[in-house]
Amino acid sequence: MRGGAEKVVGDPSPVHSKQVRRRRAVLAVLVGLSLILLTAYFGEPSTSPLHTVQRGIVEVFSPIQEGASKVFSPIRDVGNWFSDTIHAKSRADQLQKKVNALQAELGQAQAAETPNRQLSREVRLDQTDNISSYSPVTANVIWQDPTLWYQQIEVDKGSDDGVHLDDAVLGDGALVGKVSEVGPTFSIVSLITNHTVQVAAQVADRNGDRGLLVPKVGDPNSLVLQDLPQLSPGQPGPEVNQQVLTAGFKSGGLGSLYPRGILIGTISNAGANALYNSQQVQVSPAADLRHLQVVQVLTRAQGSTVRAQLP
């Protein structure tokens, strides 16, 4: 009796073998399908059939997500309340320091504003690439990237509201990203923490050093301003707490994706080694990229036809 049982275990029945074969076949088909999709999608342009299907599905999902976002907002608020309460003390200290620094900067800016306006008028400086000329559209964030890569968000405004591909997006008064996909009623925004997004930026100091702002992948609180001008020994460079703004440029029909002078963040680390050897500093984004609720999309109202992005 016992020997018979062992024989059955050691010599699997045809039914068992069939089950094993079927299981392996299903697994192989699923893995194969995933790899085919991955390969096909990765090499295709954004107008490909797969992208179109994906856009259609997001279009269908969008109202459902919008409704779900409203339904779950009390739960979200309670969850975030606990999280905020835990960090309230340290955050209050940080904000107090920030307020003190900003008050000092405000005083300097106000003092410089009047002569700046007069001088701009005298030299007939082109003022058309500021924020107000981009007709900002306010949009609610429907969902955020649940992965640790902080790559994108979806907002509830699309081409029906005048949003275009590559429009700059602001949150908390600072640059948060650009529109990377647009549908009639929704837009996907690639955040500045997305590794595909690079921004021409400049330090708001006397030198106005320009560089290329890239994310530090996996860290939503850190960006890297690289390719800064080479400093000679003894020459003052960017310092901690100085603001970093979009550089913006306009040359004939060409214009930067981002208007000039939008706040991106402040320099959080300007170590001499990184500055003199690698020509880079670390920047802390001004906007809280993990808790965006409302953003502004700068639609291109001023009629620029051709655009390019610096490095």
Partner: protein, 202 residues
């Protein structure tokens, strides 16, 4: 039997759809220790553990693909990871049939680790042009911790949703009948079946 499978498929479809919606609309926007919980691997792991490797793999593929579509990500990345999670959770059930109550906790941690590190690996293979922060590693570990904490409630919820239509339930009942005489330990066997027959080999 066909009705059971149809019911199971329907419930799994609703479960996958609900998971994606809840994850995007609520869970991803709640920060715990600086990260958000990730329901996807936990739900797929629970389905694999309850329904077996084949169902787990199919559920992983479908949920992952839905997430890729909805998040506007490269198609096939999440589904590839979730297939592995669903399949191996099911294999653990089929090979070991673990009965301990804390198994979903350990499996939840393993599934979250596979999802976190697997996603990082695939992203690097696809090409990352920017510097990478060490914080990413720290955040993966914190996410595993947070997911481990919620693994048991998620497993219980999934079992509640798909448990009644699982085709394996009769087999489990038969196994219980073999080991306990088909009765709860609170009942006395002799009252229903009379004396239990003894094996002649003992």
């Amino acid at each position: 039997m066909r009705t059971d499978y149809t019911k199971l498929a329907l419930r799994l479809a609703l479960l996958g759809f609900g998971t994606v919606i809840v994850q995007q609309a609520a869970v991803s926007q709640i920060s715990i220790f600086g990260v958000s919980a990730d329901l996807g691997p936990l739900v797929v792991m629970a389905v694999g553990l309850l329904a077996g490797s084949m169902t787990g793999a199919v559920m992983g593929f479908a949920t992952g693909l839905l997430l890729d579509f909805a998040l506007f990500q490269t198609l096939g990345v999440t589904s590839l990871l979730y297939i592995a999670i669903g399949y191996w959770s099911g294999r653990v059930r089929e090979l070991l049939d673990p009965a301990h109550g804390l198994v979903p906790l350990a499996m939840g941690a393993a599934a979250s680790a596979a999802a976190g590190f697997g996603m990082a690996l695939i992203q690097f293979l696809l090409g990352v042009d920017a510097p990478v922060s060490v914080l990413l590693l720290q955040q993966i570990f914190v996410t595993i911790l947070v997911n481990t904490l919620i693994a048991l409630p998620v497993y219980a919820l999934v079992r509640r949703i798909i448990g009644p239509v699982l085709p394996d339930e009769p087999r489990r009942r038969r196994r219980r009948a073999y080991t306990t005489g088909g009765l709860s330990p609170l009942q006395r066997p002799a009252e229903r079946f009379g004396p239990l027959p003894r094996s002649p080999l003992r």
